[in-house]
Amino acid sequence: MNEDHPMNDYVEGDPEDWVRIISVDGFTFLCKRKVANMSETIKNSLDEAGGFSEAGTRTYKSQERGIVVQKMIEYMSFKAHYSNVGPKEEIPVNEMMDRLPLEILLELMLAADYQEL
């Protein structure tokens, strides 16, 4: 489908690629695709096979505020990293929980629900 595009050999894109996530208040976040793919919605949106226009630009426009997007990406990194550890290793979930400030908690919960995170 995108054979003419020199950079993409795969439909889904290189996981090591950098993608852009933009918050509603103008902040731009760059992260690896494999991290961004932790969120189903973002993954689908960036999925070039899905036909979304964003796929070409590798940019995702979020409806959330910057702080919230940042926390989400933080979680996505956490999840991406610990998805691949061996079964014996303990996952420091409590640490992640400690990093969730109460002030944005409910907003974050709403966003996480939408993002299928």
Binding site: K34, S83, I91, L102, L105, M109, A112, L117
Partner: protein, 319 residues
Amino acid sequence: MLVEHEPNGGHGNRRIQTLVQLCQRVAANHIESISSVGELSFTLVKPVLERCSAEQLLRIEDASPHLKSDSEELWRSLCRRTYPAMLERYDAETHAEPDSWRTQFFVLREAEAKRLEEVGLRIRSQRLEADERKKEREVKFTDRLPPPKRQRTGWNMPTQPKTLFQKTRSEASKLQKNMYHTRMIPPMLKGKDYRPTGNTSSDSLLPAMSTYSNRVTVKTVARRPSAAGLSEPSALPSKTSNPLPSKSTNPPSTFTAESRSLVSSSNGTLSISSKDPKNSQIPSSEIVSSYTKPFTVTKKDPMASLFVPKHRAHSQRAR
């Protein structure tokens, strides 16, 4: 086109809770800080609300009324959690579900508070009673003297003049002690209310003394027979009362003179009994017994037995 491996990672995903779940957990830990859940759907906040107390739930519901329609089961589990016993009772009586578990909860709470209050009241009163009972038994400090075992006469207080009859009676009772165990002798005469206050040292002693007013207490006392024999006056057998007021002011000398004269002639001429006065014990008993009437037992003051000396010197006998 090769499909790359799942970028979501392998099965490690299964072990990691979603961000939603993490948020719910954190929120549940900090319910107090939550004033409202805004527009969040019930399903999202349900795990948080399940861990609320009644007040918290009420507050959040008030802030986000859309939750109220779904919160019935929350209130139901709250009821069950907080008042398990009451709920069982409730179910036993009426098998219908209450219309609103929310109101039901507060009904239960009031009932519980009332019940607790009643129980508390009962316990408190029981404790007070126990305390009182304990207080009665404990050692107390008092200024009052215990009553003497016998009626004291003339040791510290001036005696009132005694009628001859009264004297005889008291003598007889004293002698009686040697014969029998302690017992009470009923009052002899009913005509006048004798208050043998001449027999008692004072009225300031324990008011229990008033119970003795009509009775002669016969107490056992070891007495030398000779002393008893000498001292026994003849008793007047008359059953009519001497018309004496209790605080009579008749000069005592008259009586003593009388009694002495009687004593001197008592040797064979005891008008009461046929027995020789030398056998002092026996006639005294008869003397007493002739006065015996059906009697009632009065309560003895438990302190009465405390301070009585066993023997009184003969010279100290009141006259």
